[in-house]
């Protein structure tokens, strides 16, 4: 979600873009993450997948689809909007809310949060606060497509599609078919 805002600005300044993952790479990474989640938790029965809007939700749905195929039963994916829990609300004009949809009671379940890019960790901190008020999960895990480093909080991902070392001036753009009509991860700006 955040990465795409960056991208819009980077596009307008004609920054050079370097594609680091194509659709095949994304597909393979998601398949691997799906299996890693199942392997770690052994069973899909106590799992709740929650994507963080907007791109995290689409990733969560894709992972849920793959998981349903593997497990042979329907596994739902939800969405968790974290806007109201952000620590930077006062720095910008109020922004629109995204949709929150919790497919199942989260008490005693293993919740897997899914986002596109892990950066400062502040989004995940907000998501943990939001979860706290929805119930008491047995455990919370984090899956991200891209980990680009530069954490500002003691947060790490349990499942990572690709570690992408970046500098702070660079921007990571994740494009997904559902929104952007193509699957790709690109780095923009910097000395590319």
């Amino acid at each position: 979600m955040v990465a795409s805002d960056d991208a819009a600005r980077a596009d307008s300044s004609h920054a050079p873009a370097r594609t680091v993952l194509d659709d095949q790479d994304i597909s393979r990474a998601l398949t691997r993450i799906t299996h890693e989640i199942l392997e770690r938790n052994r069973d899909s029965a106590g799992l709740v997948l929650l994507g963080i809007p907007t791109r995290g939700v689409h990733l969560a749905r894709r992972i849920a689809r793959r998981m349903s195929d593997v497990e042979g039963r329907d596994i739902p994916a939800g969405a968790l909007d974290i806007t109201m829990y952000r620590d930077d609300l006062r720095l910008k004009p109020a922004r629109a809310l995204e949709h929150t949809e919790i497919p199942d009671d989260i008490d005693g379940k293993v919740v897997v949060l899914i986002d596109d890019v892990l950066f400062s960790g502040r989004t995940i901190r907000a998501a943990l606060d939001a979860l706290n008020e929805l119930g008491r999960p047995k455990a919370v895990q984090l899956a991200v497509l891209i980990d680009r480093g530069h954490r500002e909080l003691p947060i790490r991902a349990d499942f990572v599609g690709k570690n992408l070392p970046t500098s702070l001036v660079e921007r990571v753009k994740v494009s997904l078919d559902e929104i952007d009509d193509l699957d790709a991860v690109a780095i923009m700006g910097g000395q590319a």
């Binding site: 960056d6 829990y85 952000r86 720095l91 004009p93 109020a94 809310l97 929150t100 008020e133």
Partner: protein
């Protein structure tokens, strides 16, 4: 987004739809185990009520508390206002206490406007009903309720919906705000009232008017009954309560002539047996109780959009970098 909410006419289509969409998301908070969001923590909201109110004051209070704001309730009765304190001095007192938002209901039309324009307070001013002028959050919650029932999958507006508003238009601030907002959202409004209860200048409103309720029932998607405001009636506007209710009251026979999908609304408080019969008020197609529930969500949305972000929009640029990194 605007800084104060003084009139439903201040909202353009984008802002109005944004408030309604935000309310849609916030409605879910009421069904959570913990009905609270941390968003307005540390902010102070003052309910400044110079006129009696149950649902609006409680609704604003619930909305502010669900967003974790601190709420100070002020009612004119039992305050220094009864000793003769002016609106200005009351406002300055509240400002000195650090109010981030002032929700004002006043018996004089224009009081919220004066409060906002005179800079007696730095906080956002939200009009919760002024005289016979406007009541914008009521219009928003009405539009929200209509949208949930009639235009769930649309573009967020109420384009082409027929709304019939019946009753004491002359004294109603609800109707003035509703007409402005419904026009912005693209609905067609028909106003039905006895000639004595239509205000001067209604020809300039973007509405159709009629003296006959029965003729506008068949095509109505929404029928909104207005309260006969006995406390503002200092002249005889109609011969008798019975005649009014016979000609302009909504009873079961009239309800049955509405289209199957049509809903019945009333901003409350109702005079059962006057403008609406008890059967109709409690009918499944009456959404009057739901309007109250939706009121909290809509007022949360208004408070969030007015107070949740940066107080000063000039800080936006410096903040961009921070946001990108979140």
């Amino acid at each position: 987004m605007i800084k104060n909410l003084l009139s439903a006419g201040d909202l353009d289509r984008t802002d109005a739809i944004r408030i309604l969409d935000t309310a849609e998301e916030l409605l879910g908070v009421a069904s959570r185990p913990i009905k609270k969001l941390p968003t307005l923590r540390g902010r102070t909201v003052v309910n400044l009520f110079f006129e009696d109110s149950t649902r609006t004051r409680i609704s604003f209070e619930a909305a502010a508390k669900r967003l974790s704001a601190d709420v100070i309730n002020f009612s004119a009765k039992g305050s220094s206002v009864s000793k003769g304190e002016s609106l200005k001095d009351t406002a300055l007192t509240l400002q000195a206490m650090g109010a981030d938002a002032v929700i004002i209901r006043h018996h004089s039309s224009g009081a919220p406007h004066r409060l906002a324009q005179a800079k007696w307070t730095n906080g956002a001013v939200i009009n919760a009903g002024d005289g016979t002028h406007e009541h914008p959050t009521q219009a928003l919650l009405d539009a929200f309720t209509m949208r949930r029932h009639l235009a769930k999958d649309g573009d967020g507006s109420l384009t082409g919906k027929n709304v019939t508003i019946v009753g004491d238009v002359l004294h109603s601030r609800v109707v003035r705000s509703n007409v402005l907002l419904l026009e912005t959202l693209g609905a067609n409004v028909t106003i039905v009232a006895p000639p004595t209860l239509l205000p001067v200048g209604i020809d300039h409103w973007p509405v159709e008017t009629s003296y006959d309720l029965d003729s506008s029932l068949e095509k109505a998607d929404v029928v909104m009954m207005l309260r006969v405001q006995a406390e503002r009636m200092n002249a005889s506007y109609f011969p008798s309560a019975r005649e009014y209710s016979r000609r302009y009251g909504l009873d079961t026979a009239r309800l049955n002539r509405l289209p199957d999908h049509a809903i019945v609304m009333h901003p409350g408080p109702m005079n059962r047996g006057m403008e609406i019969t008890a059967d109709v008020a409690d009918h499944v197609r009456s959404v009057i109780v739901e309007q109250v529930t939706n009121g909290v969500a809509v007022r949360m949305a208004v408070l969030y959009l007015l107070l949740g972000g940066a107080a000063d929009e000039t800080t936006t640029d410096e903040a961009t970098t921070d946001k990108d990194r979140a």
